[in-house]
C-alpha cells in the first residue's frame, strides 16, 4: 500500500521536529549540568538527537521535492509549521525534570526505531537501525537517573515526583493517532504510535518500581503539537534556534 507524499512528508517532519526541538532543549544544559559527567552526557545525547534529526530532514526535503534544504526545514519555518509533540518543547525545569522527559522520550523511541528498522521504506529503515542503538543508551542512562533521584534523598525524590506530575499531561500525545500516522503504519513504514504503548508502559513501570514512583495519571492530556499548535515556550525556543539564520540568511559554517 502506498502512502501519499503529503502524509509521508508530514510524518517525517513530525519525527524530525521532535528530535531537533528536544536536542535543542537538551543542549541548553551544556555548561550548566550538576556534574562534569552529565555535562558530557547531555550534549552527547543532544548530538545523537540532532544527528537523527538531520537524517530525517534530509530525507523529508528529498521526498518533498520542493527544493527546500534540511536547513530550510530546520531553521526557517514558522512556529505553526513545526509538528513536534508538546513534551519536547517544555522548558527544561530542573535536572530531574529533564532526565524524566528524556527517559519518557527514549522509552517511546526505542520500540519505535526497533520496529521501524524493518520498515518497508529502505531509507527510514537505515536511519532507524542506527538510531535504535543510540537510543538504547539513552533509555539506560536516563532510566538510571530516574531511579537514583526517585530512590535518593528526600529532596531528590520530591523533585522527581514533581517532574512526574508536571510531565503527566504530555505523555499521551506521544501515542496519538490520526490520518497521517494511520497511513504510514498501514503502509508498513512505521509502527502505529498506539502499538508502542505496552512496551513504553513496561519500561516505565520497571524503572518507576525501582525508583519508588507511581505511574502518572493524566487528568488533562495536552495535545495539538502534531497540528502545529504549541505552548508559549515554543516561541522563545525558536527565537534562539532560528536567530542566526534569520539575522544572516544563508549563513554557513
Amino acid at each position: 500500500m502506498e502512502v501519499s507524499r503529503d502524509h509521508f512528508v508530514t510524518f517525517l517532519l513530525r519525527l524530525a521536529d521532535d528530535h531537533l526541538i528536544l536536542g535543542h532543549r537538551l543542549s541548553e544544559w551544556c555548561g550548566h549540568a550538576p556534574m562534569l559527567e552529565e555535562d558530557l552526557a547531555m550534549p552527547n545525547i543532544a548530538l545523537d538527537l540532532i544527528g537523527q534529526a538531520r537524517a530525517l530532514y534530509q530525507y523529508a526535503a528529498e521526498v518533498e521535492g520542493k527544493g527546500r534544504s534540511e536547513d530550510d526545514l530546520a531553521y526557517l519555518r514558522r512556529e505553526r509549521e513545526y509538528l513536534n509533540c508538546l513534551m519536547v518543547e517544555r522548558p527544561n525545569g530542573d535536572f530531574a525534570h529533564t532526565m524524566l522527559r528524556q527517559f519518557y522520550f527514549a522509552a517511546f523511541m526505542h520500540p519505535f526505531w526497533e520496529k521501524a528498522s524493518a520498515s518497508t521504506d529502505e531509507t527510514l529503515a537505515g536511519i532507524a537501525a542506527k538510531a535504535v542503538k543510540e537510543v538504547s543508551y539513552h533509555v539506560r542512562h536516563c532510566g538510571e537517573w530516574v531511579i537514583r533521584l526517585g530512590d535518593g534523598t528526600e529532596e531528590s525524590a520530591a523533585r522527581m515526583k514533581a517532574a512526574v506530575e508536571a510531565l503527566a499531561p504530555y505523555v499521551d500525545e506521544l501515542f496519538e493517532t490520526d490520518a497521517v500516522s494511520e497511513a504510514v503504519s498501514k503502509a508498513g513504514i512505521a509502527p502505529a504510535p498506539a502499538s508502542l504503548r505496552s512496551s513504553f508502559d513496561s519500561t516505565v513501570q520497571r524503572v518507576f518500581a525501582e525508583a519508588f514512583l507511581d505511574m502518572p495519571e493524566t487528568a488533562w492530556p495536552q495535545t495539538g503539537g502534531r497540528q502545529g499548535r504549541h505552548g508559549e515556550a515554543m516561541g522563545y525556543l525558536l527565537a534562539e534556534l532560528q536567530h542566526i539564520q534569520r539575522t544572516y540568511p544563508g549563513a554557513v559554517w
Binding site: 545525547i45 538531520r54 538504547s136 543508551y137 539506560r140
Partner: protein, 188 residues
Amino acid sequence: MKLPISPLVGEMAGRPEGGDVELHADGVCGDAYRRAYAAAASVPDPEVPCVTVADLGILRSVEILDGVAVARVTPTYSGCPAVLAIELAVETALREAGFDARVERVISPAWTTDWITEDGREKLRAYGIAPPVKASNSIRALFGETQVDCPQCGSPHTERVSEFGSTACKALYRCTACREPFDYFKCI
C-alpha cells in the same frame, strides 16, 4: 566446516567480519585499486588517531568506477561531529594518491563495533582505550552491566563513571585495581 578467509582477500580488503567491503567492480584487484584502498585505509580517525578508518570498519568499500576512486564511508553515530572531517580526509588522501575521488556516505547497514578489526582493537588497548565488549548490543543487555577490562593493567575490576565520555563513541570508566581512569569504546 568453516573455511578460513583467504589471507589475500583478508589483507586486500581489511575485511571486517560481517562487513560488506567490496572489491572493485569487476572483482579484479588491480594495482590502482590497491593504491586507492591503501590511501583511503590509512586515514586516521580524527578523534581517536591511534586507529585508521579501516581499523574502525567505517571505510565500507573502495571502488574504481570510470577512473574515479569512490570510497564509501559510514558514520559511527548519527550525530558524530567527525563525519565531515573523516570524509574530507579520505577524499584528500585519495587525491594525494593521484585519483579523481569521490566519497559517499552510507548509513545502512548500521555501523557496529563488531566491525572494528582485531588489529584495531589491539591498537585501542595499547592507546589506553578499552575496546568494545563483543556482541552485547541487545535489548536484554539494556539495563545489564558489561564487564570491561582495564586497558592499563588488565584487571576486570572496573567501574563505570559515566555512560558518555569525551566523544560520542566512548564511555568513562575507572579501574578499581590500578586506580587509573580510562575510556571505553562503547559497544553498539
